[in-house]
Structures are given as C-alpha cells and as structure tokens.
Symmetry: C2
Subunit: 202 residues, 2 copies
C-alpha cells in the first residue's frame, strides 16, 4: 500500500488535535489544503499566527483584546457599578451578543474544582478584590456554569465577599443545568440575566 506523503500525515495529525476535528475531518481538510493555491495556504498560516500574536488578555478584566485595556474596560459609557463575573474570556462574547448588558466584566479563568487541581488561588479572585477597592462597583453578577462546580464557586465567592458592601447576585436558572454559557441562545441568556437573584450570605 502506497502511504500518504509524510507532510500530509503530519498535517492530518496536527489538525486532528484541534477541538471538534475528528480523524476523517482532519484527513479531508489536509487533502484540501495541499491541493489549493500555495498563496492561500500561506495567507491562512499568517492569519493564524497574527491572530495569536495580536490577541492578549485585558490586564483589568481578562477579556480577549488587541488593545490595552480592552474596549469594554475603556468605554466610559458603560456602567462601571455592575460587574459580571464569568469563567472564560469567550463567555463575555456570549453575553455581548445578547446586547442587553451595559456593565463591565471580570474573567475568573475557571471555576473551583479540587478534583482537577483548581483552587481559589488559581482564579483571578484577588484581581477582582483589587478592583473592588479601586472601582465604584456596587453589584457583582455571577454568571458561571450551572453545574456543581460553578454552583460551588458562586457560593464560595458570595461567602468570601459578603462583607465587601456590594450586592452579589447570580444569573437565574434559565440555562439548562449542567451546561455552560457557550450553548445558551440569546433569549435564554437574556432571561437568565434579568431573573438574577441575590445569594443568601450566611
């Protein structure tokens, strides 16, 4: 049996590591890519490297951005008294697509998960506490995943911040349980945000 050229095999292996790309898709993509114009492949490779090089995390909120601070943090028309706390930078995009939230954001960088070795000190919690002492924040909206670890993280944070003098709420269970922000449609997300309730601070 004549094997595939090594260069293609390597490309299939590299593409197969990407999320959502199975072995068949990787093969199909690789065979497509070695047969199109060489310049088109070069353009794709450049776009890839440039995107990675230009995109940084905002030093204030942790969002994906090309400028420092990011567009939301530097936008004076947005309501700086409300900060929505999310797990990942991409969760901000889900909320922004809904176009109903005018406050600011803070990316935690994950959720507390002892089984996966994620402790509170691995998250951007201290960074938020610094913002609390520096910015005129009156309300924190917790918009974490609605799974067990997301719930636990929300309760941990509500307890940790109960004496900070800010209102702490959580987006409502409009999201299907066990899911994350990235799977929610705009309406579900909008209702969840509107229906937020204060957390009992024991």
């Amino acid at each position: 049996m004549a094997a595939l050229p090594d260069a293609i095999t390597n490309l299939i292996a590299a593409l197969g590591k990407l999320p959502g790309i199975g072995p068949r898709s990787a093969e199909r993509l690789a065979l497509y890519l070695v047969q199109i114009e060489s310049s088109a492949v070069r353009d794709l490779a450049n776009t890839l490297v440039q995107a990675r090089d230009k995109v940084k995390l905002c030093s204030i909120c942790g969002a994906l951005t090309e400028i420092e601070p990011c567009a939301v943090c530097s936008d004076t028309r947005r309501d700086g008294s409300v900060v929505c706390i999310v797990e990942r930078p991409t969760d901000i995009l889900s909320i922004e697509k809904m176009a109903g939230f005018r406050g600011k954001y803070h990316v935690l960088g994950g959720k507390i998960s002892p089984l996966n070795g994620v402790e509170p000190e691995d998250l951007r919690i201290v960074e938020l506490e610094q913002r609390l002492s520096r910015e005129p924040i009156k309300e924190l909206i917790l918009a974490l995943s609605t799974d067990v670890e997301g719930d636990a993280t929300s309760f941990y944070l509500a307890k940790r911040w109960k004496d900070k003098g800010v209102k702490i709420s959580r987006i409502a269970y409009g999201l299907p349980a066990g899911s994350g922000l990235e799977f929610a449609d705009d309406i579900t997300l909008s209702r969840a945000l509107e229906g937020r309730r204060p957390i009992e601070q024991m």
Copy 2:
C-alpha cells in the same frame, strides 16, 4: 456590543472557508487557537505551509507525492500492465487503503461535465495516451464516480480508446449510485474492483 478583536474575526472568516467548517466551528476553532501556546500555533502554521510546499503532483500519474515520480510509479514490483484511472489524487488513497490492487494509477483531474465547463481537453487524457505509447499497458480500469457524469466520461474514454489495443474495463456497480470513491468502504470497493466488466466499444 463589544465586537470581537479584528484579528479573531479575520481568523474566523479564514477558517470558515475550509470544507466542512461552519460558522460555529470556525468561531470555536478561532477562539481555541488564540488562547493556546503561541508556539503551538506557530508549529501548526509551519506544518500547514510545509505540507503545501512539499506536496506536488506526480508528473506521470498525477498522484499527490513528495518525490518525483511518486512511490507507485517508481515501484518496479507493481504491475505496470494495469492502470487504474481515477478522477482525483485522493481517490488513489481510497483504493490503496483496500490494499488489493497491485497495478498503477492515472489521475484524470475530474470528469467531463459540460454544465460546469469541463471538456475532455481539460482532463489528463492526452497524458494517458502518451503513457499508452510509452509503457507496456494492457488494461485500463476506469474507476470514476458512478454518477451520470462519471458514466458519460467512462463511455467517452472507452470509445476514444477502442482502437488502442488495450482492454478497457470499469469497476462494477458495487458502489452506491450517485456516490464517489471517497464514501465507499473497503469491501464494497474491493468487490467493485473484482467485478469489473469490459465496456462495449461501439
């Protein structure tokens, strides 16, 4: 609404042009790629460009190859008296995976399709005729798609070559009609190859 950084939007647009990658997959891939190690992105980009630069089409049969001529054409243990004619370079891989064919190949580069502007002179037909006068070819096996255009191309070629003194056969209808080689499993493909029949040369 805070827009995505331009670099990410560009990357999503570029990825969305690839086959089998829809808008959601493109966004997911792009957001993944701007958040992994910069070196990993560079490696992927290099693999991409290298694969495209190293892979050429064999000057004899038209297969994808890094060496010239390709591994099949330069393999003296293969039976040079039987040549299997396929539409695309990737069709060779489908047949090689089956591991039951020991002849050589010829890539047509498509099938006759007047509606899409593909005429006989756009295909590598003359190249095959040059091979017929140069190589000890005794049989040509037509392994084109089993759709109307593939059938028409097979009949056209059988008629064109009826006085060339070679046996011309076509792989059997073991493939589901209206489909192409890339969707066939090994057994179906193997039966189709075994059950090949001479074409009536009117």
